[in-house]
């Protein structure tokens, strides 16, 4: 049974038809890499999966929680879907530890001591157990992004969405964040990530989705899809991004 099920999803921004009928199934433990040209709708698709963008038509089900034509229990959905942003979006007035503890205590009512244990655990997982009391502006970009991952993990999401989470980082900081994602994938976390790191998508992903003009243009196993694109658009894209 699939963990995430999307059927016939449509989204307009005004007259701009951005998602033109998306059908997608993601099984538990899948690592999905979303690629495509700028403006093809990758971020929009990702953001609809936890309700940051409303949809006009179609169905979205995550672990039994459903949105029909954009209506349904958003908060229940969001508790199952974590998200990490390109720009980190850490809360600047809270320490790393407090950033991580906020949602468990406020949303789930987890007692403070327990939330603290959770925070320590997830910060350890991203390799930042010593930064519990640091404020975001005292951390490097890579560290901030790892805290953001930890913050999402603290809610024990069923699926984690990542939107170009290394694009705002200095090149030398990219690998420490990718290492964390790689480890999560190895542990069986379900991941849907928009990425420009083609090599990473091929190595870590078990499903590749190429978006083009608001549609899923081609998809399949990353290794075969990259090696043998079926459509000229994907061939073109792969060639442009990664001259072989």
């Amino acid at each position: 049974m699939s963990l995430v099920k999307i059927a016939g999803l449509h989204k307009h921004f005004g007259t701009n038809h951005v998602l033109k009928g998306i059908d997608l199934e993601v099984a538990s433990g899948d690592v999905v890499a979303l690629i495509g040209r700028s403006g093809s709708g990758k971020s929009t698709l990702l953001r609809t999966i936890n309700g940051l963008e409303t949809t006009d038509k179609g169905e979205l089900v995550v672990d039994g929680t459903a949105l029909h034509d954009g209506k349904g229990d958003l908060r229940a959905l969001r508790q199952k879907v974590g998200m990490v942003f390109q720009q980190f979006n850490l809360f600047p007035h809270l320490t790393a530890g407090q950033n991580v503890m906020l949602a468990p205590t406020v949303v789930k009512g987890t007692p403070k001591a327990e939330a603290q244990d959770i925070a320590k655990e997830v910060l350890l997982k991203v390799g930042l157990s010593d930064k519990f009391d640091s404020y975001p502006d005292q951390l490097s970009g890579g560290q901030q992004q790892r805290v953001a991952i930890a913050r999402a993990l603290a809610m024990r999401p069923k699926v984690l969405l990542c939107d170009e989470i290394t694009s705002a980082l200095d090149p030398e900081l990219v690998s420490e964040v990718l290492a964390v994602v790689r480890q999560l994938a190895a542990e069986g976390m379900t991941l849907i990530m928009v990425t420009h790191e083609m090599r990473f998508a091929r190595e870590v992903g078990n499903k590749l989705i190429f978006m083009h003009h608001g549609r899923i243009h081609e998809s399949g196993d990353p290794k075969t899809v990259f090696a043998d694109p079926q459509t000229p658009e994907l061939a073109n894209f792969v060639g442009a991004v990664q001259p072989a």
Binding site: G82, M83, F85, H93, L102, V106, V107, A148, R151, A152
Partner: protein, 217 residues
């Protein structure tokens, strides 16, 4: 009636009156802040009617003279049977005036919190009140301190207008003294100095807060 006023008599009377200016400023600022906070919450609430009503409230107070606001409060309150002293009308009028401006300043501060903060907290399944309380307002508060202190200068200066509805604060007392002493140049010079002494430190403080804030960012 005093026939002769020494300069010291003038200064003493003005200092006395200055206390009323200070008291009125404090009351208007504190009460205006409380009312303004309520207006702010309605202004940014997830409710069209509240938004529109408070937007109109703010635009009306920002689009009409403080003097007219005081007149309307003064004569309006007496219409509904409340026996209004100039003191009460001044405090009520200036409170409303202050609340509208502070609400608008603070709304700007809430909007200055980056959109990503709303998104990140929404993603974590926080409700709107939770987002406000834990994520948005703490950040908006930091942004708000400098402009709020800056606006307190406008409140102090606004108290001068209450002299026109007969509240015996610094300006009113100054007018009376100027008439009695035939020394308007000296008296109004001193009155101006009194306001300057109250306002200038606030202006400087606001400016230093602003500078500190920009460095901190």
């Amino acid at each position: 009636m005093l026939v002769q006023f020494s300069t010291w008599d003038i200064v003493r009377n003005l200092l006395d009156a200055g206390k009323w200016t200070l008291a009125l400023s404090l009351i208007a600022f504190v009460l205006g802040g409380i009312v303004g906070l309520a207006i702010l919450f309605a202004r940014i609430a997830d409710n069209r009617v509240l938004q529109a009503a408070t937007k109109a409230y703010i635009e009306i107070f920002q689009g009409t003279p403080l003097l007219m606001q005081l007149f309307i409060v003064f004569f309006g309150l007496s219409l509904v049977g409340i026996d209004v002293s100039p003191w009460l009308a001044a405090a009520a009028g200036l409170t409303l005036f202050t609340s509208a401006y502070l609400a608008e300043i603070w709304r700007g501060c809430v909007e200055a919190v980056p959109k990503g903060q709303w998104e990140a907290s929404a993603t974590l399944a926080l409700t709107y009140p939770q987002q406000m309380r834990h994520v948005i307002l703490p950040q908006a508060l930091r942004i708000a301190i400098a402009p709020t202190v800056g606006f307190s200068v406008q409140v102090v200066k606004g108290t001068a207008v209450t002299s026109i509805i007969g509240f015996a604060e610094l300006t009113k007392t100054g007018s009376m003294l100027a008439n009695a002493t035939f020394e308007p140049f000296l008296v109004f010079g001193l009155v101006a100095a009194g306001y300057f002494a109250l306002c200038y430190p606030l202006s400087l403080y606001a400016k230093s807060l602003e500078r500190k804030f920009h460095v901190a960012r």
